[in-house]
Amino acid sequence: MAAGPARPPGRPRAQMPHLRKMERVVVSMQDPDQGVKMRSQRLLVTVIPHAVTGRDVVQWLAQKFCVSEEEALHLGAVLVLHGYIYPLRDPRSLVLRPDDTPYRFQTPYFWTSTLWPAAELDYAIYLAKKNIQKQGALVDYEKECYDQLHKKISHAWDLVLMQAREQLRAAKQRRKGDRLVIACQEQTYWLVNRPPPGAPSVLEQGPERGSRTASHVHMTKSADFYKREIEYCRRALGRTRVKSSVCLEAYLSFCGQRGPHDPLVSGCLPSNPWISDDDAYWVMNAPMVAAPTKLRVERWGFSFRELLEDPMGRAQFMDFLGKEFSGENLSFWEACEELRYGAQAQVPTLVDAVYQQFLAPGAARWINIDSRTMERTLEGLRQPHHYVLDDAQLHIYTLMKKDSYPRFLKSDMYRGLLAEAGVLLDTKRRVFPFTRRPRRSSPSPALLPTPVEPTAASGPAGGNGVA
């Protein structure tokens, strides 16, 4: 292999941690005591030492990592794809067969991490060697590459041919076994670095990261950077933290509570539409239905946020508040959401509307907030922006959450819904599993006319998106 020209800057090796890890695996596989069983492989009349069978590779991986054979086969296949292990008999395809097919470990010289990116000159020499050695040895795509390279580096072509001949001459002086091995090693290296059309390139990394330092916000370790860090640390030190035990217990109760509602964990009734091709589940759980399912009504009791996020739940809550003559609270909250997430151009209009309706003295739906918050809010209205109503919104939200919401859950209205909600019986397994309903694509929300909302205040795309 010619000592190639200076490597163009590719993705730095530090950013390909998987290569290092693969190399560690491959090195431990070659351990004389703990590694894969090595044997000499007979290929026609030559005997190649230090070969392993595909089956042994898979079994070693399965045992070492305590994984299934399927996973071990996959891991082995990935090692072969990256050229760390190569097949002796059929070097054209980098595939791991879990049988007696012989394989060998690639020499570190050809590892991707040592010799990457592959140089054009080297590829030209390799192809030239193949061409000289045996006419017609080059496959279609190789012939194309060869011609392209010939055009591109025609000025150095004499060097290419000379190097190729020299390497072939040196190779002749080696033993047949060594020659075969080196040829396989080289071939594998080029299969990885110049994959045939159609085969995935394992070395492709996607768009470059952090390379364009010119247009980069470069955080040099300047005084400013450290000052910012110090400020952040000071703030962080002042923060209250919660004990791990408390936080982790919260996960347990959250997962436990939501488990039955999670289709991937507990299934869903009557059936998962993706499996049975039956839309029933989606129809029953549409944003607005006449009869919400029991699970859905249960969820309204999990948290106030959950109740508000469900359009039906919100509508029911609005009805309940109406009965208590505090519906303006929810309407105010919705208006605040509209302001927070609305268009910038709408801000003055929205703020004004909210003031007129909810905050002005004598307003039609005047909300009851403490005087200090009201003062601050009115003050802030002079310079309206998206978050000018945050304080008031939080106050009202907390009020609803701590006061109205618990009462709602205890109310006859809610209890009634819970009792009425259809509890689905387990549908018996279809007798004829092969009868499938024809799949129809659902109408796009972009086509549907905006549905007329019931009592709940209409929030344009505010809150939850209604399909």
Binding site: P17, M22, V217, A223, L248, Y251, H386, A446
Partner: protein, 387 residues
């Protein structure tokens, strides 16, 4: 004879104070000047102060960071898998591919579900909506389902209203909303169609008004490319988390633009972040082949999901509805399903023929979709019993 006789003194006007003094040469930013001895001494001490300040700032920052770690460690009284010992194990999972979507002519890079739970938008190296650049790395569905946003190497995020009128040229109606100085890596609508949050290779995140394209807030603090973001499902809806090439995951206050919390335990680029459904924690997937769970109230990492046999980076993560399962797509073409509480792997899924680049659970949790460089998207589900 002594050496001092070799010192030559020039007499003249000092370049700084202009007084007539004995001068000596000084170098300031590779330019030679002549200063009198007083001015030369002042310059030397100034330089010393500057270096001292930088060094002292650095050591102050380090010591504060150390103290912060101590404070965080004080309240760490138990590990997640210990607490989860009394939780019932999940058992065997069988996941099957229910739909394979082939339609992209090239690598699928990103996808998002529509809130109607059935539609998906996906982006790839070539895009159906004609785009000037080849890599479209980010895409998002608007909450109303009437528009999509996408962007990538063009440094922009553009919003396309969805239309099914065949005569309409979608590209004509597109609106360029965000402008960054480097590639767009992620985008997401907030609670409405009118605001978009973006993350970029230029190291910043930004909040934009869709209609006017105005920048509402920008978020600076990452030391390298920002690769992913996720909005918090919290009650007050004010924060989001971002992950970047500086190995940091940062939580931001959308209103003030300040970083509220930062976590730096990953050993490589963070490719994906996703909030736990309760909003009290988030998971991250990284090139270091691990996924980690960070708790916001405890202010620390609380779990690592890794296995010796998993060597390749995790490109995309998402939780199931209850937060019990964590799905992660990896660059070795597989998807690993983790038990979030117990920390063990529940299942490994094969099927893709190239790296899994994107993975999202559907809004109602009935299935999850993975997109891959093998040009396909797969919708999968299953459960603890085979259907």
């Amino acid at each position: 004879m002594c050496d001092q006789t070799f010192l030559v003194n020039v007499f003249g006007s000092c370049d700084k104070c202009f007084k007539q003094r004995a001068l000596r040469p000084v170098f300031k930013k590779s330019q030679q000047l002549s200063y009198c001895s007083t001015c030369a001494e002042i310059m030397a001490t100034e330089g010393l102060r500057e270096n001292e300040t930088l060094a002292s700032l650095k050591s102050e920052a380090e010591s504060l960071k150390g103290k912060l770690e101590e404070e965080r460690a004080k309240l760490h009284d138990v590990e997640l898998h210990q607490v989860a010992e009394r939780v019932e194990a999940l058992g065997q999972f069988v996941m099957k591919t229910r739909r394979t979507l082939k339609g992209h002519g090239n690598k699928v890079l990103c996808m998002d579900w529509c809130k109607d739970k059935r539609r998906i938008v996906s982006s790839s190296q070539e895009h159906a909506v004609t785009m000037p650049c080849t890599w479209v790395m980010a895409c998002a569905y608007a909450p109303s389902g009437c528009a999509i946003a996408c962007g990538g190497l063009d440094n922009k995020c553009s919003v396309y209203p969805l239309t099914f009128d065949k005569n309409e040229n979608m590209a004509a109606k597109k609106k360029s909303v965000a402008m960054h100085t480097n590639y767009l890596s992620a985008c997401s609508f907030t609670n409405s169609d009118m605001q978009i949050l973006t993350a970029s290779g230029d190291g910043t995140c930004a909040l934009w008004d869709v209609e006017s394209g105005q920048l509402l807030q920008s978020f600076h603090g990452h030391g390298a490319d920002v690769l992913c973001l996720d909005l918090a499902p919290s009650e007050t809806g004010n924060t989001f988390v971002s992950g970047g090439c500086d190995k940091k995951a940062m939580v931001w206050d959308m209103r003030s633009g300040q970083c509220v919390q930062a976590f730096e335990t990953h050993e490589s680029d963070i490719n994906s972040v996703r909030y736990y459904p309760s909003g009290d924690a988030f998971a991250s997937g990284s090139d270091d082949a691990t996924c980690r769970l960070y708790d916001l109230r405890a202010d620390r990492e609380v779990a690592i999901y890794s296995k010796e046999s998993i060597i390749f980076g995790a490109s995309s993560v998402d939780f199931s509805l209850s937060g019990r399962l964590l799905f992660a797509g990896y660059n070795d073409y597989t998807i690993n399903v983790w038990d979030v509480l117990k920390g063990s792997r529940v299942s490994i899924l094969f099927g893709h023929e190239n790296r899994v680049s994107t993975l999202r659970v559907s809004p109602d949790g009935t299935a999850f979709c993975s997109g891959s460089w093998d040009h396909t998207l797969r919708v999968r589900d299953g459960g603890r019993w085979a259907f």
